[in-house]
């Protein structure tokens, strides 16, 4: 929260040296023989590196090579940060037009920057990611402003770095640390970057000019310490083998080739810069054309789409959450960590205390500083008397899943809620139609369905009933964006989109168990398909009682027949073996999350399809019934709510790739064998 004076002055004033004249994409200024090149991409609040930026840099280098200055400073004019990486939109063109030539040109430009006879300093504030990092690495020195971060997240797009990081980073810092950074795609924040050696100095923004000046003075009598560091690293093959083992746990080679190419390149050419460079260009070009990378790039854009979906500015400053159960507490904690003023109401104070502890855990997990953690905790106000209702712009009801209880809550809210505020239910299994008549303002009543745990699951279903007005939906979507979650707009329907699609997958797993297939075999089949967790373990994690409740209510509400709900499931619930939360469900959770890896040699040949295809079929049903706007939204929702394998690009994309005729034929075949629950929806013909 900043006051009017600081708002007037601006929170940060970037030191741009002499490069004060606006120009795109590079500003140039010279002062006392030092040239400042300041990146300022046109029409965007962040810098991305594309052809124009590289070519612009080449033009500047022409001048610098002819008349080498005393030093060169490279930084960004964007308050948001240095540069967030390559323009991913250009990857498709690159893949089509042959990436090799373009990569060679890019490499040549950064090689020239590296070879300048004068000192070069990158001044980095905010993120220097992907190609942004690679430009900084081509400079001789790096100064970081506190808050700067460095990362090579290309593996998340099915790639590895393509503009020199694969050989410059292992030359600059401990090669094992460099490989880890590139293999995990993780970000090194300022201090970590300094301790790794990516950064030479950490300097506050207000001292950048002086620090640059001092560094250039010192450079006059520098020795070639840094550059001379040997590329040699003994025992590369042993290290490579360990890296492959580690990577296999997170990203099996079958589905994710990129990290293995990165390891291969390093193992084979780790002591030969030029060979590494050539290998980087070659394997990057090949990876660009893999299905995995194409699908992961697709997922990147699906995320953008959900994020930027039709919505206005977030006008929710104060959220009141009713019910400090697992979901209510998570929602409140997350919103507070993300900057909202939150009141959390519950008649009982003990769960409110737990919610405070949970907020601290989430804030610590988000690497907030002690002061930021304190502020997040100050924003999360346990509110046993419900004082917050009267002030909230949004009231989220997360009470027990009983229509009568919720209606009673709405009655009590109605007397206090302020005009214009939205009331949203986090119900996962009840129909909004059954609840809306108790809402104080039917137009401003909707569903806001978070997934557990809120801090990990990015998706939120914004659910409208036929009386919800459009503004309410866009405001809720904007709120989700404001707390860094991805909204997907859906219509009221049994299970909405995600649970509607997930339920047959879970129920089929139970039927398979009843048929005598081991749960480990079932879960392994799903994991091999690429799901983050098998259906049996997922049911345990969600909570068998909740799963049973959703199953029963969907079975009653849907036209389509669902699998018979397993007696075993009911017995487990009756016994109180509810899954992860009680330590035992179908699995024993005392040793942590079960992750079976069973042999599938004796598994039925239709096992995977029996699990996955009904999920796809339910998605088609939702599209046909207009529950969700588009196939892309279905794909985004299923990936970000259920972990549907991102490398497959989403369930609808997978269906198209495999061929809808193949799928409907298979479903008919399964229906003949196992019953009408597999009969393909009639919506398949429209895909």
């Amino acid at each position: 929260m900043i006051g009017p004076v600081l708002r007037h002055m601006g929170e940060t004033k970037l030191e741009l040296g002499p490069a004060t004249q606006a120009a795109h994409p590079w500003r140039r200024g010279e002062d006392n023989g030092v040239v400042w090149l300041v990146l300022d991409c046109e029409g965007s609040s962040v810098n991305t590196i594309a052809r124009a930026e590289i070519e612009g840099l080449a033009t500047e280098l022409d001048r610098l090579e002819q008349q080498p200055p005393k030093g060169v400073v490279i930084r960004s004019a964007k308050p948001a940060g240095f540069a967030v990486g390559a323009d991913i939109k250009q990857f498709d063109d690159m893949a089509r037009d042959g990436a090799t030539d373009m990569l060679r040109q890019g490499h040549a430009v950064l090689d020239r920057l590296e070879a300048l006879p004068c000192p070069t300093i990158a001044v980095v504030h905010g993120p220097a990611i992907g190609a942004g990092l690679e430009i900084a690495l081509a400079c001789e020195r790096r100064i970081a402003v506190p808050g700067a971060s460095f990362g090579a997240p290309e593996v998340k797009l099915g790639l590895h770095p393509g503009l020199g990081a694969t050989f410059r980073l292992p030359a600059l810092i401990d090669p094992l640390e460099a490989m880890t950074l590139m293999l995990t795609g993780k970000t090194a924040h300022t201090k970590k970057a300094k301790s790794l050696g990516i950064v030479d100095e950490i300097v506050r923004e207000r001292h950048i000019a002086a620090a640059v000046h001092a560094m250039l003075e010192h450079e006059a009598d520098r020795s070639l310490g840094v550059k001379a560091r040997a590329l040699k690293y003994g025992g590369r093959s042993l290290a490579a083998r360990q890296m492959r083992n580690e990577t296999e746990k997170q990203a099996p080679k079958e589905h994710y080739p990129a990290p293995y190419r990165l390891i291969d390149n390093w193992e084979q050419h780790g002591d030969d810069r030029d060979a590494m460079q050539q290998a980087e260009i070659d394997s990057f070009t090949e990876l660009l054309d893999t299905d995995t990378s194409k699908n992961l790039r697709r997922v990147f854009f699906l995320r953008q789409r959900l994020k930027d979906g039709p919505r206005g500015a977030d006008d929710i400053a104060h959220v009141h959450v009713i019910g400090a159960g697992a979901m209510g507490a998570e929602i409140a904690a997350w919103a507070a960590v993300k900057g909202k003023r939150v009141t959390l109401g519950d008649v009982d104070t003990a769960p409110l205390g737990q919610a405070v502890a949970q907020t601290r855990k989430i804030a610590e997990g988000a690497h907030l500083s002690d002061i930021e953690i304190r502020d997040a905790l100050d924003r999360m106000v346990p509110d046993p008397r419900g004082y917050g209702v009267a002030h909230a712009d949004l009231v989220i009801e997360a009470g027990p899943e009983k229509v009568e209880t919720k209606r009673k809550i709405y009655d009590s809210v109605a007397a206090q809620i302020k005009p214009g505020a939205i009331l949203a239910s986090n119900t996962s299994s009840l129909s909004l139609d059954d609840l809306k008549t108790a809402a104080p303002d039917i137009k401003r009543f909707a569903g806001l369905h978070f997934f557990n745990p809120v801090s990990k699951m990015q998706l939120v279903e914004v659910v409208r009933h036929n009386g919800t007005d459009k503004e309410t939906i866009t405001r809720l979507a904007a709120f989700c964006g404001g707390i860094d979650r991805l909204p997907v707009q859906v219509r009221d329907y049994p299970g909405f989109l995600v649970n509607r699609a997930l339920t047959p997958y879970l129920l089929e797993a139970m039927v398979l168990m009843d048929e005598g297939i081991a749960k480990e075999v079932i879960d392994t089949a799903a994991i091999r398909f690429g799901m983050p967790m098998g259906p049996v373990a997922l049911a345990d994690q969600v909570g068998l009682d909740i799963g049973l409740h959703v199953g029963d209510s969907l079975k009653a509400a849907l036209d389509k027949p669902l699998a018979k709900i397993s007696d075993d499931l009911r017995k487990k619930v009756d016994k109180g073996e509810l899954g992860k939360k009680t330590g035992r469900g179908f699995y024993d959770w005392s040793q942590g999350t079960p992750r079976p890896d069973a042999s599938l040699d004796d598994a039925p040949d239709d096992l995977t399809d029996r699990l996955i295809l009904p999920m796809l079929d339910a998605c088609i049903e939702c599209l046909r019934k207009d529950i969700v706007g588009s196939a892309d939204e279905v794909d985004g929702a299923m990936i970000f709510a259920t972990g549907f394998p991102p490398f497959r690009g989403g369930p609808m994309h997978y269906a198209r790739q495999r061929g809808t005729e193949d799928i409907t034929a298979r479903l008919k075949n399964l229906a003949d064998r196992h019953g009408p629950r597999f009969a393909p929806d009639r919506g398949w013909s429209n895909i």
């Binding site: 929260m1 006051g3 104070t349 205390g353 502890a357 601290r360 100050d378 008397r385 004082y387």
Partner: protein, 427 residues
């Protein structure tokens, strides 16, 4: 121009007994814990407040000007002026009194006035000679000078000085606060048993108030970062009895003293806030006042008998407003020590004392126990020094409303030889 001034609302944390180590909350944490729900239950935007004043005696190093830190952490905005006041045990009432005078005189309309104290966080400090040694070490340049400086180290440098003990000792007379109570007990012939009986009653009254829910609107639960919930004043001993109270040895003057841990106020953490408003503010924001602040008074006397501060401050306050002792329907007289409260009562019944010291015609009178500290006091609740003055004003307002009393006085003795008193009137 003097304008009417109202006490609109207030809330405090539970008072939490110090357990021999720093408690879960700093002074500002405590102020935030009770300030948040208090502000949330107001219908006005808290930024409509003009000023924040907080009493705090033991300010910790991380929270200089705790009033301002609390204001910012409560989300009152960068533009909120806030200052901290310190008049020892009167700090929390001094904040209300300052708010009252500012508003009465017309410069302000709505002020958040509080007190916050975490006695469990009172620092351990180094002895002065140890501090000098540390300074010498830091300045020593080179190994020889350092080695030389090092030889000055003595084991007793590591024996810390307990800041709280120093704080509760009068620097003029070097008497501990408990010893000043012993002085009064001697002068007014108060025996151990009477003091213990008073203490027991304090516990039973607080226990009753808690049970009846009389403190529900006043005490807001506090939540620490580990998820522990504190929902009541935990120094209370509902089973307090004379046998138990007879056990502890004198705390300050062994073996013959009368003041024990059992009949003294407890070392406690806690915070309290009230909202003070002008008539304009009451109208503008549609507020319902709890009480009107009628007048206030501060007085001073010898530090050695500081416990009589309430007598010195309250008597002129009542007289100035045309009241005799019986016209005041309810009293909150801070229970620093049972002997000290009883000494005040005795002084008011003492003809000669009242004539010669207070300038009255004779004894001021007797305050019946049903008009005094009706829901317990610092002996059962504890005495977070910078907070207590705020709490007794707030609780007086709440108790006046519950018991339908027209006028009340909250008053306290103040270490160093001061007394403060504030008069409220029902609205």
């Amino acid at each position: 121009m003097t304008r009417p001034v109202y006490l609109v609302d207030g809330a405090r944390t539970p008072f939490l007994k110090a357990e021999g180590k720093p408690g879960p909350f700093t002074p500002v944490d405590l102020a935030v814990q009770c300030g948040r729900p208090l502000l949330l239950r107001q219908m006005f935007d808290p930024r409509a407040l003009d000023l924040v004043i907080l009493g705090c005696v033991n300010v910790i190093a991380d929270e200089m000007n705790p009033a301002r830190v609390a204001a910012l952490r409560l989300g009152l905005g960068a533009e909120m002026v806030a200052f901290t006041m310190q008049i020892n045990c009167g700090s929390g009432m001094q904040s209300i009194d300052t708010a009252y005078r500012y508003i009465r005189d017309g410069s302000h309309d709505m002020i958040l006035a509080g007190g916050a104290e975490a006695l469990s966080h009172a620092p351990l400090t180094l002895r002065q000679d140890a501090v000098e040694w540390f300074g010498g070490m830091a300045q020593a340049k080179g190994p020889v000078a350092q080695a030389k400086a090092l030889t000055g180290l003595r084991p007793d440098f590591f024996k810390p000085v307990i800041g709280l003990e120093r704080g509760l000792t009068d620097p003029i007379t070097t008497l501990n606060m408990g010893q000043t109570a012993e002085v009064l007990a001697h002068h007014f012939d108060i025996d151990r048993k009477t003091a213990d009986a008073y203490a027991m009653e304090s516990h039973l009254r607080l226990a009753k108030a808690q049970e009846e829910g009389w403190l529900t609107d006043e005490v807001m639960p506090a939540f620490d970062n580990d998820g522990t919930v504190y929902d009541h004043d935990n120094g209370v001993r509902p089973d307090s009895n004379m046998e138990g109270l007879a056990k502890p040895k004198p705390a300050f003057e062994r073996p013959h003293g009368k003041v024990t841990a059992g009949n003294s106020s407890q070392i406690t953490d806690g915070a309290s806030w009230v909202i003070v408003a002008s008539e304009d503010a009451v109208e503008k924001h549609g507020l319902t006042p709890l009480a009107r602040i009628v007048d206030s008074e501060w007085a001073a006397l010898d530090p050695k008998i500081m416990g009589l501060g309430p007598v010195l401050a309250s008597t002129p306050l009542a007289r100035r407003n045309g009241m005799d002792l019986d016209d005041v329907g309810l009293w909150e007289l801070n229970e620093a020590f049972a002997a000290q409260v009883l000494a005040c009562l005795a002084a008011w019944q003492h003809d000669e004392f009242c004539r010669e010291v207070l300038g009255l015609d004779g004894a001021f009178g007797r305050i019946d126990r049903d008009r005094l500290n009706v829901d317990g006091g610092a002996i059962s609740l504890g005495h977070p020094v910078g907070t207590s003055g705020n709490r007794i004003v707030l609780h007086l307002a709440n108790a006046m409303r519950r018991l339908d009393r027209k006028t009340g006085i909250a008053t306290e003795c103040i270490g160093g030889g001061l007394g403060g008193a504030m008069m409220l009137e029902a609205v």
